[in-house]
Subunit: 240 residues, 2 copies
């Protein structure tokens, strides 16, 4: 799903599986909670319970970072928090630009979870002249045409796209041209990026459709497979 990131053929050294990377933030959150309840160490079983996975997975995941546990004891909570933070690149701050200030863009700009992890919302960008100049979450909204300057000024490396679908690819291209190398896309559209740029997507409507699939299975399908197409020429999804 994500682009590449240099092949690293040598052994286990330095090659962390993508599935593991996706779980590290979950462990990190669980560990921070444990630290708050004054726990000094935690076993793979304990961390597994707090993260909603099984303990074998926890141990294998953590083993990719190095041998940071102590047999018979567990893992030092503070030390593990530091190691995971470092591995995820959270020991430095990242500047984020959010493009598109509709409902979702506003929500993201005000979302507290970003700043907590070292992500600074450095810039807000829109094309609507009425929104430009306005202040949202303490940041002044600027125009998309100034993107190159904005990215350079703040050293933005991560861009968040919260525009309507039809504008997303253009915004994406502009972000890439301005020098942004990681993009998080909320627009319901497939984006194309050049090699070297990482792209992740969050699609609210797709999540609901997956739930719908399983929900239907629970009740048993109402329509027998393959049938009754002619009786319903206009399917549920009719517009873009």
């Amino acid at each position: 799903m994500v682009a590449q990131s240099a092949r690293r053929p040598r052994g286990a050294e330095r090659g962390i599986p993508e599935a593991t990377v996706a779980r590290l933030p979950v462990y990190l959150r669980a560990l921070v909670e444990l630290a708050e309840s004054a726990a000094a160490t935690v076993s793979s079983d304990g961390l597994a319970a707090a993260s909603g996975v099984n303990s074998a997975k926890v141990r294998k995941d953590l083993s990719h970072l190095g041998s940071y546990g102590t047999r018979g004891v567990g893992y030092d909570v503070q030390f593990l928090i530091y190691q995971i933070s470092r591995e995820l690149g959270l020991t430095q701050d990242w500047s984020v630009a959010i493009v598109g200030l509709g409902n979702l863009g506003h929500a993201l700009a005000n979302y507290g979870g970003f700043a907590q992890r070292g992500f600074r919302v450095a810039a807000l960008v829109d094309t609507d002249r009425r929104r430009v100049g306005e202040e949202v979450a303490g940041v002044v909204v600027r125009h998309l045409d100034d993107l190159d300057d904005i990215v350079a000024e703040h050293g933005v490396s991560i861009g968040v796209i919260a525009t309507p679908a039809h504008a997303a690819q253009d915004v994406c291209d502009r972000l890439v041209r301005a020098g942004v190398t990681s993009i998080l896309n909320f627009a319901p559209v497939v984006l194309v990026v050049p090699t070297g740029v990482d792209l992740r997507k969050v699609d609210l409507s797709i999540e609901l459709q997956i739930l719908s699939f399983h929900e239907q299975r629970k009740a048993g399908p109402l329509v027998p497979p393959g049938d009754s197409y002619e009786a319903a020429r206009t399917p549920a999804a009719a517009s873009s």
Copy 2:
């Protein structure tokens, strides 16, 4: 990630792989766009390009639904739209309740992408007495304590949790008790649900952390692995 959903040991018949289910909504969106540009048929290559995957995957995915293509021609766009919609359960409407009307809850309530796919935002729920009674996106906000009635009234089967983390598990329990069997969680916390309830999560902060990991790799790690822990006893992540 999702709970279970009855084992179906028999052959290829009726057992659609989870990875395929996750891609069907993407195909569906691409097909609807193709239909708008008046295309009658599409090849696996064409659909693959529009969906950002490769054509072998498209063919294998679609083969799980049945043999709906014509060799030498491709797939009938309208027919495929209908078949995927039916498989995903989108030929019926689903009632959705959104709990928590902060910035994100508002954004979700106003998000047009839901209604388009047959998801009706039937109810908005909050605990803040000042918000109860208010109208958002044409729906009156009601109190969490009335959840049982609300779910029963509207036949809600899907719940969306957009509350702060500390309230999420309680809200989740209440939803389950009221009869909701599918839950989409936006709160940054690991939820526990009984067997038979499907749970999916969207975590904005985790997505950024994954991007951060890859971003760091591009530049080369600033801190040599395993070192300098003592110099930085307070990691980036310090609060919940």
